[in-house]
């Protein structure tokens, strides 16, 4: 990625509600044209964050800079930014066309020019032209998404914020809209700041992802960074199924996992590492015939298998511990339940993280 100038900068941004800091001294630079996603579980402060960025809440302290200018106290209607709401907040008493034209009407654009722009946006978002006169209440979920996006694009914002707009959409449509949104990001070249609780959704679309926990970013990086190089256990577990082994460093550089009573060969050890967690993604695990086939091997029994479409997931139990193994369908052989299996992985496919 070529370095781009920051469009939005957060400097020690804090939002407190009484003694509780929903957003806690956050520093962040968002680059011009970037698709930046803020991911966090519910209660992590992500909605408060985006409402502050969009101008619907005022930070308790810190500075919010838009192209270097402090905009803390600039109300939402004076900011060149725009948000797509979780509820979409379409105006129910207006047609699709009137919804899209709303920001232009507020600016005093002539009706003919408004309509022309609305029709262009309809075609850009692949909505039929005759939707112009349709009531938004009669649109389907996916169509309403597109209308909300068209309305935001009509505003021609410098930054577009999204507050979990896809969370209420069924899986198949959501997957399609995620890609569509990324395409629109590419087409418009605008800065997108997206909020979601789904790291999977963030992965599909984002240039960079910030993982939010209790009002602070605990890791900011590319999807690849977040997936392959999580900096702590929370981030590694946020992506979904993952195998986490509590480990302690031995003098010989091996890792001792007390719950398993096994020693594992370590990936490159961070400086000063003494104890933490060894994280192995399910797809890095494989069934091995003998101990020498992989750097680390754990014996266990196959408990169950789950078909995930192109992949198959296996649950292997080793004593009280559960291991999750995922293989591509083509690579998966028939396995008997309760069969004795050995599960292994190579040290380079694992990551060491702190708490």
């Amino acid at each position: 990625m070529t370095p781009r100038p920051p469009i939005l900068q957060l400097r020690q941004i804090t939002k407190s509600f009484g003694p509780f800091a929903a957003v806690d001294r956050v520093d962040l630079d968002i680059a011009e044209g970037e698709f930046f996603t803020i991911v966090g579980p519910s209660g992590s402060g992500k909605t408060t964050m985006v409402r502050m960025l969009a101008g619907m809440e005022t930070p308790t302290s810190g500075d919010l800079l838009l192209r270097g200018k402090r905009i803390n106290d600039l109300p939402a209607n004076k900011r060149p930014t725009c948000m797509v709401f979780q509820s979409l907040a379409l105006f129910p008493h207006r047609t699709v066309g009137q919804n899209i034209e709303f920001p232009l009407k507020m600016r005093g654009v002539a009706p003919a020019a408004r309509k022309e722009r609305a029709l262009r946006l309809l075609s850009q978002l692949r909505l039929p032209e005759d939707y112009y006169a349709k009531s938004v209440q009669k649109c389907s979920g996916g169509e309403r998404q597109r209308v909300a996006l068209a309305r935001a694009l009509a505003f021609d914002p410098e930054i577009l914020f999204f507050d979990e707009p896809l969370s209420a959409i069924d899986y198949k449509l959501r997957k399609a809209l995620e890609k569509e949104l990324k395409d629109i990001h590419r087409d418009t070249g605008k800065t997108f700041v997206y909020i979601t609780h789904s790291l999977e959704e963030a992965m599909v679309m984002s240039d960079r992802i910030g993982v939010l926990k209790a009002g602070r970013f605990i890791q900011v990086g590319t999807p690849e960074d977040i997936y392959s190089r999580p900096e702590n256990r929370f981030v590694s577990e946020f992506m979904g199924d993952v195998n986490v082994f509590p480990v302690r460093r031995q003098d010989d550089g091996m890792l001792l996992s007390e719950p398993f009573g096994l020693t594992f060969k370590a990936p490159a050890l961070p400086n000063g590492f003494t104890s933490g967690y060894l994280v192995v993604r399910p797809e890095a695990l494989r069934f091995v015939a003998k101990a020498s086939d992989a750097d680390n091997v754990i014996p266990g029994k196959l408990y169950n298998e789950y078909a995930l479409g192109s992949r198959v997931q296996y649950q292997v139990r080793s004593g009280d511990h559960v291991l999750i193994v995922e293989r591509l369908r083509q690579q998966s052989g028939p396995l008997q339940r309760d069969a004795d299996v050995s599960v292994g992985w190579d040290a380079t496919d694992s990551v060491l993280v702190g708490d």
């Binding site: 969009a54 939402a76 105006f91 008493h93 507020m106």
Partner: protein
């Protein structure tokens, strides 16, 4: 279980359960109304429905000066509604958005007087405004001034009507304002709308169902007002309801009273239908 009747009376289940209520309403509401309409076509000063129909009562109304009473009733009802709309919208807005839990207190303060009969409350106003009463008596003893009493003026009639019908405007309006989704307002603002634009484009149209219901309710009630004009106004104005009452009681001319009632119902009904056509509630809500 199959909702079929063994005796072959196969009424749909919904109708069977609704039937008692439908019969009660037919007997208690539709029948008296039909009787009033029927009486309006009976010869003047008769008391039975067995005479041949005539338009004499309607002719008498047109010839008489009842149109003045009708004018006062409609004018005062319209003025009441306009004043109430202006007074209640800010209060409704406050109750729905600003006052928070204090709106409960305000609702109570608006509601408690409703437990007292309207007549009693109106006589309370008399005590307040009468010469040597609460207001003028206090002014006299404290400052030695003695302005004329406002009682028995048109203004006090209007004040009384606004006072009595305020809750019927306020509560539907509050519901209407509360129906406006918070995020629609925020989205409008975020899309560059000023406060005034948010009000005009979003809040007013989306709260219109509640406002229209409040307008209609208070108008219909205010057209039927009588006590305010009688007691507070001391007959400064004669509303149509007064003529109707006189016809039925003092004058013992039921057919004339019935004809006046039918005329009033027709006029009010026409105005309400017109308003509903203009402000189609479903269309306002975008359901159509």
């Amino acid at each position: 279980m199959e909702p079929t009747d063994r005796r072959g009376l196969a009424l749909p289940q919904g109708l069977r359960f609704a039937l008692p209520l439908i019969l009660a309403l037919l007997a208690g509401f539709v029948a008296p109304l039909a009787a009033v309409v029927a009486y309006s076509f009976m010869p003047p000063r008769t008391f039975g429905l067995d005479h041949s129909p005539t338009l004499a009562n309607y002719v008498e109304i047109v010839a008489s000066n009842s149109h003045i009473a009708l004018y006062w009733s409609l004018t005062f009802a319209a003025l009441t509604v306009v004043i109430l709309a202006a007074v209640c919208y800010p209060i409704a807005y406050g109750m729905a958005r600003v006052f928070g839990r204090w709106s409960t207190v305000i609702v109570l303060l608006f509601t408690i007087p409703l437990f007292v009969s309207e007549n009693v409350r109106i006589y309370g106003w008399i005590l307040f405004f009468i010469k040597n009463g609460v207001l003028l008596g206090s002014l006299k003893s404290l400052f030695g001034v003695e302005p004329d009493s406002w009682l028995f003026t048109k203004g006090i009639v209007l004040l009384g009507m606004v006072y009595v019908y305020l809750p019927f405007m306020l509560f539907p309006m509050t519901l209407g304002v509360a129906m406006v989704p918070a995020d629609a307002r925020e989205a409008a603002q975020d899309l560059g709308a000023s406060r005034w634009q948010v009000f005009r484009e979003i809040e007013l149209p989306l709260s219109m169902p509640g406002i229209v219901i409040g307008l209609l309710l208070t108008f219909v009630l205010a057209v039927g007002a009588i006590v305010e004009a009688k007691v507070l106004g001391g007959q400064t104005i004669i509303p149509i309801t007064h003529d109707i009452e006189i016809a039925f009681t003092y004058a013992q001319n039921w057919p004339l009273g019935a004809a006046l009632s039918v005329l009033l119902m027709l006029i009010v009904g026409a105005l309400v239908l017109l308003a509903l056509r203009r402000f189609d509630l479903d269309a306002i809500l975008g359901r159509r």
